[in-house]
């Protein structure tokens, strides 16, 4: 099955699979260069994008395949970054789910949920909505 890749200025659409992660990061990295942000802030946005893309690639479509659109917008003043992940996978609001226990002992510690936890703590805003059959997850970061 041929999955077409749409690439325009504001978004990239790929199959929700790890083999496309680099492509998505490359796209986001290019957009981030247009911000006034410090290198470490840009890297944090990339890390969150990797985490959230990985989650969608791993879980959104279950056994099937599907597409995900990653939109990246930089505000006029180049001070705010917004990244929107849109997929048609099973309805899932990651914000509704309990965070992993960050005070768990080493033996009990789980990795799952770290991505969304990082997004919540390190981005300035995280929003989710389910609209027109699509999961829409939006993260925003203000770049100093």
């Amino acid at each position: 099955m041929d999955i077409e890749k749409k690439r325009n200025q504001e978004s990239i659409t790929v199959e929700a699979a790890m083999e496309h992660l680099e492509e998505v990061l490359h796209f986001v990295r290019r957009k981030l260069k247009k911000t006034e942000g410090r290198m470490q802030d840009r890297l944090v946005v990339e890390i969150i994008v990797e985490e959230l893309f990985t989650n969608i690639a791993s879980y959104a479509y279950g056994e099937n395949t599907g597409r995900v659109t990653v939109e990246c917008r930089i505000s006029q003043e180049a001070s705010e970054v917004m990244v929107v992940f849109t997929d048609r996978g099973m309805p899932y609001n990651p914000l509704e789910h309990e965070d992993p226990d960050t005070r768990a002992s080493i033996e009990e510690r789980e990795i799952g949920g770290c991505g969304i936890l990082m997004a919540k703590k390190m981005m300035d805003d995280v929003q989710y909505e389910f609209r027109d059959g699509k999961n829409i997850l939006t993260i925003r970061k203000y770049m100093e």
């Binding site: 680099e22 290198m39 890297l43 944090v44 990339e46 005070r103 080493i106 990082m118 390190m122």
Partner: protein, 94 residues
């Protein structure tokens, strides 16, 4: 006297590099006498949960053997990730 082995972590501990780091660390602690490892993160500017998983795996492995794992030269933004995820409570830093 037990020697400490130092492994230098790469700049980006992401999905493609985390397995490489894991292999490096597993190799370094392969011999039972190599029970104390130092991970130097001087060059690391990026880490995501796959990287955290690698650190957790090695930490648990050494702990079970009565060994130690210490991470040094952690940059502030990486430390923030450790703090936010609670990993700063599990890992040992120098």
């Amino acid at each position: 006297m037990e020697e400490k082995k130092t492994v230098e972590a790469m700049e980006r501990i992401d999905a493609s590099h985390a397995p490489v780091l894991e292999e490096m660390l597993l190799k370094a602690v392969e011999e039972p006498e190599n029970n104390h490892i130092i991970i130097d993160m001087e060059h690391t500017v990026y880490i995501c949960s796959v990287g955290l998983r690698v650190l957790l795996t090695i930490q648990k492995k050494l702990r079970r053997r009565g060994g130690t794992m210490v991470i040094k030269n952690v940059k502030p933004q990486i430390m923030e990730i450790f703090d936010v995820t609670g990993f700063s409570g599990i890992l040992t830093f120098e």
